[in-house]
């Protein structure tokens, strides 16, 4: 794409096709010959893992859609029928339900990697923004997918989340009913969620192509954050990274299989095995684990802020937590990409990761429960989530912008080759 094409059609048919549609050339230049920094570590394997999981989700989902019935009277039973009576339905449904969780495990690690190595910085802002759009669509697809089995958590999760839209002034009620297609979450809602749940993965697949395109124009970032300068810095993607990504994919699949075959319900919630009942509210409505940090941010806003009600404030904070990612490339102005060479940012990033995990913990708990109690003094979870939410936003809006000016970065290597070969790159000939 951005580099000189090294593809040489050898057979007659290859030459014939190459003159008409150079698709083999595109594949060769993108995934065989593509010059890739030689120092990529295992944190860089999650892109490949995500591509595999997108395929797993689409394939298993297409088969599930052949058996699923999107109707409030039959949806719950049809999912159980898949698990009981469809040949290997328990396997396909188990892969799809657990696959969603593993998709998010991979995407979070992929995003944290990008945050740590500064992969969002110039010239990769568009690459990063496409990634955030993919993440947003993944969340929408996962949320609507979780509604489809029409269990108690499906129904009440859908009710809680769609009701958030009602917090918007003036237009909120109207939009809410437009989303529902009714005056409450019901059959119309289930039908449109099924339709959109089937649509979104294909939009994601399209965006993944753009994501890879936007990756291949500037090329990969790498753990040093120093851009590729010469041939000695890179290796062809195949076989070096096909084999490294391949190894990581198989290990990730091994863990995935452990869940699918031995703990198929561990990541789910028992209440979702109870059919949806609009008359019975579960004692404790919680989203799937991958939404818990955002759920904690939503519930952390417990106070009115001027004309903004606490509910609207929570909704704005929740969407703002993702929205801030879009402008991150312009918030962090430090010229140093990799936090390996940013002594203060490194620690702030570590605390950021802990804050995200902590928010996940808060999201799973009842806000009034106590984190700890000591001699009559205790801290409820809502306070912890407020502290962590404050840090989450401060990291992007204060810490990174300020550090760009006050932090003194450590010395960076001359080039990737120099960092790999040590202090005397000239002494060793490249390859």
């Amino acid at each position: 794409m951005s580099h000189q094409s090294a593809y040489e059609p050898k057979t007659g048919i290859e030459k014939w096709l190459d003159a008409r549609l150079p698709i083999v050339r595109l594949g060769y230049d993108s995934f065989v010959d593509f010059p890739t920094p030689r120092n990529l570590n295992y944190w860089y394997t999650f892109g490949g893992i995500l591509a595999v999981f997108l395929v797993i989700q689409i394939l298993s989902g297409v088969v599930l859609a052949m058996h699923y019935v999107p109707h409030i009277d039959y949806a719950f039973d049809s999912v159980e029928r898949i698990r009981r009576d469809v040949n290997y339905g328990w396997l396909i449904q188990g892969m799809h339900a657990n696959g969603a969780s593993f998709f998010f495990v991979a995407v979070y690690l992929h995003m944290f990697r990008g945050l740590f190595y500064g992969s969002y910085k110039a010239p990769r802002e568009v690459l990063w923004i496409i990634g955030v759009v993919i993440y947003l669509l993944m969340m929408a697809a996962a949320f609507m997918g979780y509604v489809l089995p029409w269990g108690q958590m499906s129904y009440w999760g859908a009710t809680v989340i769609t009701n958030l839209v009602g917090a918007l002034p003036v237009v909120g009620e109207g939009i809410k009913q437009w989303l529902w297609g009714d005056f409450a979450v019901g059959n119309a809602t289930l039908n449109r969620f099924f339709s959109l749940h089937y649509l979104l993965p294909f939009l994601i697949a399209g965006l993944v192509i753009l994501h890879i395109w936007a990756l291949h124009v500037p090329g990969n970032n790498n753990p040093t954050g120093v851009e590729v300068k010469g041939k000695g810095d890179t290796l062809p993607f195949h076989p070096y990274y096909t084999v490294k990504d391949g190894f990581a994919i198989v290990v990730f699949l091994l863990i995935f299989a452990g869940f699918v075959f031995y703990l198929p319900n561990a990541l789910g919630h028992a209440d979702n095995s109870i059919e949806a009942n609009p008359l019975v509210t579960p004692a404790h409505i919680v989203p799937e684990w991958y939404f818990l940090p955002f759920y904690a941010i939503l519930r952390a806003v417990t106070f009115d802020f001027g004309p903004i009600s606490a509910k609207l404030g929570g909704v704005l904070a929740m969407f703002g937590a993702i929205g801030v990612l879009f402008v991150l490339p312009w918030l962090d102005r430090s010229p140093v990409k990799s936090m390996r060479y940013r002594p203060i940012a490194k620690w702030c990033f570590l605390i950021f990761v802990i804050a995200c995990l902590g928010l996940g913990w808060c999201g799973a708990e009842n806000p009034d429960n106590l984190v700890f109690e000591f001699g009559g003094f205790g801290m409820p979870f809502v306070v912890l989530s407020q502290i962590l939410t404050a840090y989450y936003f401060a990291y992007f809006l204060v810490i990174l912008p300020v550090l760009a000016y006050v932090e003194k970065p450590k010395a960076r290597p001359e080039s990737i080759e120099a960092s790999v070969l040590g202090s005397s790159p000239a002494a060793v000939p490249a390859e």
Binding site: E80, P239, V243, G246, V250, V251, L254, A257, F261
Partner: protein, 275 residues
């Protein structure tokens, strides 16, 4: 992990005596089930006894709408293997549950309403293995009316639908002899059970020593009944568990070998490349 959480919750409850009101819900009692662990399988005889307890006790109120009689004889089901009457101590496998004499016999004891295709009139016919378990009530309203307003939950996926699973079911069934705490007042038709969230439920104690007659020499105690029926319900919630674990072993071994090969290929390829 669940036990760890339960222990942790118990410790947390001890550490905060102010919160531990007397009506606090108890964590289910731990029990060592035959199907635990990656190689654990259901005990067919236990499933058969559990089905008997369900049929004779629970089925008068609790439906199992998602189960058909054929499920009882499917691979991994309670009656897949039957004792061979001609050869002492041997078992016969019935790969097709529709041919399974026990399944046919169980189904035939029920009658179903059908439409006579010739006349279009309603007729009564004998149950067949393909029939669903009969629902004890005609509709939800009748179920609620017969049970003081509380609809008895369907048992098809009850073990998956309760945190604590089979241990919760077993503990609940055996938890009725606890003393009612002072802060709980029971209305007529209500019962106290510390394993139930909130402590108060409409279902009274159901299992008593000797209430169900087992054919073998298994103890006929309430505890044994509760354990057996919890096992049966665990199977009903996950009827393909054994197949799942069996296939899982093959997949895990395959992926493990595959990952080792990938690792070796990676080492080989990168051996002379500085990175």
């Amino acid at each position: 992990m669940k036990r760890f959480i339960a222990t942790f919750a118990a410790l947390a409850a001890l550490a905060t005596p102010a919160l531990a009101a007397e009506g606090e819900t108890h964590a289910p009692e731990a029990y060592n089930w035959s199907w635990e662990g990656p190689f654990g399988t259901f005990d067919d005889e236990q499933l058969q006894r559990g089905f008997q307890v369900y049929q004779e006790v629970c089925a008068s109120c609790h439906s199992m709408d998602l189960l058909s009689f054929r499920n009882l004889g499917q691979p991994g089901g309670p009656f897949e293997y039957l004792p061979d009457l001609e050869h002492e101590g041997e078992l016969i496998n019935y790969p097709n549950p529709n041919d399974n004499p026990v399944v046919i016999d169980i189904a035939s004891r029920y009658t179903y309403t059908a439409i006579d295709p010739e006349t279009g009139e309603e007729i009564e016919r004998q149950g067949i293995p393909a029939d669903r378990f009969p629902n004890p009530f005609a509709n939800r309203a009748q179920a609620a009316a017969s049970n003081g307003g509380a609809v008895p939950p369907d048992f098809s996926v009850i073990v998956k639908a309760r945190s604590g699973g089979a241990e919760y079911i077993r503990s609940l069934l055996l938890g009725y002899d606890s003393e009612v705490p002072a802060d709980i007042t029971l209305l007529p038709g209500q019962h106290y059970n510390p394993y139930f969230a909130g402590g108060v439920l409409a279902m009274g104690p159901q299992l008593f020593d000797g209430a169900v007659s087992y054919t073998g020499d298994t103890p006929q105690t309430a505890e044994q009944y509760a354990t057996d029926v919890a096992a049966f319900l665990a199977w009903a919630s996950e009827p393909h568990m054994e197949q799942r674990k069996r296939m899982g072993l093959g997949v895990m071994i395959f992926l493990l070998i595959f990952s080792i090969l990938m690792w070796l290929a990676y080492r080989q390829l990168w051996a002379n490349v500085k990175h």
